[in-house]
């Protein structure tokens, strides 16, 4: 049981998908201006990533490996992810049109979010079984949401700070993200205890 806990903790804190693996930066920068949009985006990505990990595992284990089609792995993963994202967009458009409008272009962009493709591929290379890959996907997505929400909290305060004019907006956001990943480096070396 503890290995599952370590997978999740490892994915959320130790090698956080945004701060340590530096994946999924464009939505991280684009959507974190306000806390509501950040949480909305985090929830959407969590749903997509967990589904994607499950689907990619099934496709990989039952479709690609028996027919030695490993070279189709990336292609088929992308197709399934795109379909899941389209499904999510329809659901969000129906349930909360404001969130859909505010997330705007970043909702379909989940497909191109490198974290969403990266994690399933990592699952394959780490040879996780079905449950482990689901947990790893969910953990990484929680790490992504955590990063997004924390960053949203800070940016909402930075909005009112007297930042020098040339550093206003994305520049100061980049610097803050850099310092945040510096802080997450503190967890380095924690996962050798698995």
């Amino acid at each position: 049981m503890s290995s599952y806990l370590f997978i999740i903790l490892g994915a959320v804190l130790v090698n956080n998908v945004v701060f340590v693996r530096i994946l999924g930066l464009c939505p991280f920068m684009g959507v974190s201006k306000k806390l509501e949009t950040a949480t909305g985006m985090g929830a959407a990505t969590t749903f997509v990533l967990t589904m994607a990990c499950g689907a990619s595992f099934i496709i990989d284990r039952w479709l690609l490996i028996p027919n030695q089609l490993e070279y189709l792995r990336t292609l088929s993963f992308i197709v399934t992810i795109a379909a899941i994202v389209q499904l999510t967009e329809l659901v969000i458009q129906k349930t909360s049109p404001l969130l859909h409008q505010v997330l705007g272009i970043y909702l379909p962009l989940i497909t191109t979010n490198c974290a969403v493709l990266g994690i399933p591929l990592l699952n394959v290379s780490l040879r996780h079984n079905f449950l482990e890959s689901l947990l790893f996907g969910f953990g990484s997505a929680m790490g992504f949401t955590l990063a997004l929400v924390l960053f949203g909290g800070i940016r909402e305060r930075l909005e009112a700070a007297d930042v020098p004019v040339h550093f206003r907006g994305t520049a100061i956001a980049m610097i803050t993200a850099g310092l945040m990943s510096l802080a997450f480096m503190g967890f380095a070396g924690l996962d050798k205890y698995k």
Binding site: L63, Q93, P97
Partner: protein
């Protein structure tokens, strides 16, 4: 090679079917966002944004055809609110749509008015009282300052007068920072 094509075709078919079903089930009609945008606009119906009124401008913004900085009566504050609502970048007011003027009210010069009722038909909020060949006058409380009555007036007897501050409507000023100018421009 054949299996690869087969697998991909199978994937495409299955996912296509799922999406088709979802598209039907999650049909969405109308767009509540237009009301939200329209609620922010100042409702002067003045047309300076290039659209015949605030509602058309709101639908244009919702569809993405119009920028959020084309409304001079809404001013910088209106643009900030639109930027927040739509999550877009704040852009200063675009010059070709006019400049932000202090809120003012139209006043008819009684000597010059000939009672031609052209301004009455032009006023979007029916704030002008009068009849053919009778004296016209503008109800100050209802005039939104959209200046649509200025062009049709043949004798140019309508002038815009900014609304002065009364003791009740006086606003506290932003505390001036005497010592560091940058902080003032930042705020």
């Amino acid at each position: 090679m054949l299996e690869a094509l087969l697998v991909m075709a199978l994937g495409a078919v299955v996912l296509g079917a799922a999406l088709g079903y979802a598209a039907v089930r999650f049909r969405v009609e109308g767009d509540p966002l237009v009301e939200k945008i329209d609620a922010i606009l100042p409702q002067t119906q003045c047309g300076q944004c290039g659209f015949p009124g605030c509602k058309p401008y709101a639908t244009a913004i919702a569809k993405g055809e119009a920028e959020i900085n084309q409304c001079p009566p809404g001013g910088e504050e209106g643009i900030h609110k639109l930027a927040d609502l739509l999550g877009r970048e704040f852009k200063p007011l675009s010059a070709e749509h006019g400049i932000e003027k202090p809120k003012s009210v139209a006043v008819i010069d009684e000597q010059a008015c000939i009672g031609c009722t052209l301004c009455i038909q032009a006023c979007p909020v029916d704030a002008i009282v009068g009849a053919a060949k009778q004296m016209h006058t503008i109800v100050a409380k209802q005039c939104t300052g959209c200046e649509l009555c200025l062009p049709p007036c043949p004798v140019d007897c309508i002038s815009m007068q900014p609304i002065g501050e009364s003791v009740e409507s006086w606003k506290w000023k932003y505390p001036v920072f005497k010592i560091n100018p940058t902080q003032r421009e930042a705020a």
